[in-house]
Symmetry: C2
Subunit: 344 residues, 2 copies
């Protein structure tokens, strides 16, 4: 029984014109000085028969879909999943739908997705940009679409952006390790040149430099799958035995790394190896020992992002300056970074 109701059905039943119904439905009753009585009757009938305007027709006509495209690196990463969930919730409250997808940090894929979103006529874009999509995103901006970048900045894209203070986060974690007495602190990261990764590296280096310690950086190619990554990390540990602590640049690298370590050392974490991770993860407090981590303020990130986007989406607001919001991280000290026993 797909007897779709039309606006004309409503109009007919009340012996008024389509226009009138449309005005009322779009909250222009007052503005158009339609009698309160009629307004009410229309609303009542609409409610009763459950009439819902055809969104496709509406969108075709207005050019607006009340949909926001959200592209994160990997929706199955808890960090992004959380942000997505929070953004979605706020968006819904404001009458916006979210459609999301994962870029997998692949620029070609991302370009396709952007193009898909354009085809879908999303009203705004929230993106964690991989490298190599500068042009496409700039085009979006030039074409007048609201674009908010999250988690990382990309040189060459001039738009609103919500990131965290990666440098300080990594710096603090490294400093903490040093304070606990670790001297040979490794940093395991990806080979990606993304701003957030580079800044974490920089924070790590900066902290070490202040104490004249030598950095030991392992860059695992981003494209490596779990197994390759694990192998790479294992061999890194084998080659550099002097290491007494390690800071992982992302939570998923930490998870792989811990697997690597436990493979290398089936008894669990060597008692004298300090471990910390940039980016928290649910399981870190489950593991033995629990893992020290740099937590990112997901809620604040999500709120800033969606607020910015809603602001940009509101035609009343003049196009404001492209501004970058930098949020602080929080070092959560757990048991994986105990004071190092000095083996005399």
């Amino acid at each position: 029984m797909k007897k779709k109701l039309l606006i004309s059905d409503i109009a007919k039943q009340l012996n008024v014109s389509i226009t009138t119904v449309s005005f009322i439905l779009n909250g222009k009753a007052k503005e158009k000085r339609i009698s309160d009585d009629l307004t009410e009757r229309v609303q009542k009938l609409v409610e009763e028969v459950g009439y819902r305007p055809n969104q496709l027709a509406q969108s075709l006509r207005t050019g607006k879909t009340r949909t926001i495209g959200l592209m994160v690196e990997d929706i199955s990463n808890p960090f992004f999943a959380n942000i997505a969930r929070l953004i979605e919730e706020r968006a819904y409250q404001e009458g916006y739908k979210i459609v999301y997808c994962s870029t997998e940090d692949d620029s070609d894929r991302t370009k396709e997705l952007i193009s898909m979103f354009r085809d879908m006529h999303v009203d705004g874009y929230i993106i964690t940009p991989p490298q190599g999509v500068e042009e496409d995103v700039e085009k979006l901006i030039k074409d007048g679409f609201p674009v908010v970048l999250v988690d990382r900045q990309v040189a060459g894209i001039h738009t609103h952006c919500v990131i965290v203070d990666n440098l300080s986060g990594a710096y603090n974690a490294t400093a903490h390790l040093m304070e606990q007495g670790y001297q040979n602190i490794a940093f395991v990261t990806t080979d990606s040149r993304q701003s957030q990764m580079l800044q974490r590296l920089e924070g790590y280096r900066k902290a070490l430099a202040e104490k004249q310690l030598e950095p030991a950086v392992l860059e695992v190619p981003y494209r490596y799958d779990a197994k390759q990554m694990l192998r790479k990390i294992v061999s890194f540990f084998e080659e550099t035995e002097s290491i007494d602590a390690v800071l992982f640049a992302t939570n998923y690298m930490a998870v792989r790394g811990l697997e690597a370590i436990s493979q290398f050392n089936p008894q669990g974490l060597p008692a004298n190896l300090g471990v910390a991770s940039y980016d928290d993860h649910d399981v870190f407090k489950l593991l033995k020992p629990t893992i020290t981590a740099v937590a990112q303020p997901t809620e604040a990130i999500a709120n800033h992002v969606i607020n910015l986007m809603l602001h940009l989406l509101n035609p009343k607001n003049k196009t404001s300056e492209a501004d970058t919001i930098v949020l602080p991280t929080q070092l959560i000290i757990r048991n994986s970074t105990p004071r190092k026993e000095v083996v005399a």
Copy 2:
């Protein structure tokens, strides 16, 4: 600049009619006996100038959006996240978009989402139904929409369905625990009356009954948050000290449960407590000990679901019988279920 190209622009530039272009674009060139030459010229120009049909107009006209609505219980649960990812990939290959969201197993929310999907004019629905949405889903079916249920069945909804053999899965896990010498095996589940949960319970009971062992079931209210759940589990363990093994009914309950146990017993898992979980989880192989689990065939589930959906979506296929596909689970034996030491 947003100089949107129209089909009429293409037509004009080639001095042909809109119809011709439309036919060619929709692969009806042969059928309409349009000259190969023209066909090629049109395709070339379309390619060159990057013309893309307006999907809104297309959809408004055809009534099809080439979009599938996917509603899972919780997209941040790895089980569902995986299935979603796999489904999405296949869908894209076939030219379909996926829009997903989480029901949180709340029937009101789910009803709203269904209604939202209707408003969006999705072509088909893939749903992990909570209870209480029977009517709404049946309405969907009656209105002629393809509907495929996943993960659980609901009495009163007669449609295609892809589930796993929950009973056997739980039975096997329980049997395994008994074989390892455990005698007082608890089952920690939710109070949800969903088919998959009930079947897991039944599998557990069945295995125990065969050996005349007594069941010990803890039902944690689904609405409990992590903290409440944890507390509940802790007190259950405290009250029932004789327990020597526990089977968790879902992976997230297992995660909470392990937290509970470790809180109860900070040294880690008591050496003589067997632990297994229905539903695998990435971290199970990271924990000490690694956790025995009943793995669900996510890939097979996703494939069956999307194949079914694509089949239903194809107008060439007559509406086939509503069939239920039941897939087998796999028991992955890890270190958390060692042979029990008989303490003489």
